[in-house]
Amino acid sequence: MKARAFDYVRPATVAEALAAFAEAGGDASYIAGGQSLVPALALRLQAPERLIDIAHIPDLRGIDLREGWLRLGALTRHAEAHDHPLIAAHAPLLALAAPHVAHPAIRNRGTLGGSVALADPASEFPAMMLAMEAQMEIAGPQGTRRVPANAFFQDLYQTALEPGELLVALHIPAAGPQHRCAFDEFARRRGDYALVGCGVMLTAPAREVESARIAFFSVGPTPVRAQAAEAALIGRRLDSEVIRLAQAALSQDLDPPDDEQVPAAMRLHLARVLIGRLLGRIAEGL
């Protein structure tokens, strides 16, 4: 239960971090909060030659609102997602999801960038990036690029990040008071990985749904947008009949895997219960 020996470097800039990775011939890992990486090293699931500590790079920090976009530095901690006023106002799904992510002490150290880059299929923040149509700012040897969430999460723990590339920031279209959001998940115990989880973000002036974005997690190898359920809502009054249509549409959106703990049919059932509750919650507040 101890990590294999490694070489430790602490770059001060993104350019230095990328160079440190290249110098190690690719046998390196970036570490920020380390709340998933350190156990993986202790269990020797990973054993890189070099650990590159990016926690002290100023360009990876900061929470700013600029021209309708909320920029969250990759080092933004889960606890900040919980408490920060700009996140509460403009990315409320993150604030709603944060209390469900692991436990308080983990949230003090874990970073949003780390969670998104790891892309655990059972984790909350990647799915919320999908629901918010966020864009990931990635730095690499070729320069910087932005990748939308729907192209970022590609497969099980697999993202658009190429080896050695660094997630710099999350750019989120700023939500406003017209956006209604709800989040919840089913987990066996608080802080456990969710059996099924979901975030919903919609606009419904005069109770009629104008736009809807629904993202599920823990339903397959990547987070999933529920587009058929979204389509069932758009242009309709958000009432119990329409909510039932969205619940029914989920069989087109989700194809959860069968496992010993949770059969596929049970996961789909839980997803339907969850979306019903979340839409009901939003409808009550309209």
Partner: protein
Amino acid sequence: MPVAITLTVNGETLTRLVEPRETLADFLRRDLELTGTHTGCEMGVCGACLVMLDGLPAHACLMFAVQADGARVETVEGLTENAALADLQRAFHERNALQCGFCTPGMLIAAQGLLARKAMPSREEIRDALSGNYCRCTGYEAIIDAIETVAQGRAAGEAALRFAEEPA
């Protein structure tokens, strides 16, 4: 290759050479002989290794000592010495909120972190705050009772203090 780090532990600033693979928990226990920080699962599940890192609870098993360079660390020993935990420790004792005591340092630090964030948490909130701390002896009820008692005590103490400070 060992790396030199400088950090403040329980109010004392130290410089030490550490192997990068050494966790903060092992550094505290082996290098500094502060064995009140317990190592249970060593993978962030049991909560026995919680310490205050720059004033917030963190798992000492989920970071390497090199990452704590420049940080301020407080362990159960330091928080005992400066009496920050005295009322929690008394309440745990009085309410029998420990048996073997293995989880207690982590429980105390989780409780301290919670009460700093929220002065009067509900029992549900206390339970939630302890969701990452395992106790295999007590069944948790006594621990929740003890923390609730301290929250009330601290709130009453502050009220008494405010009353005392008001002009006659």
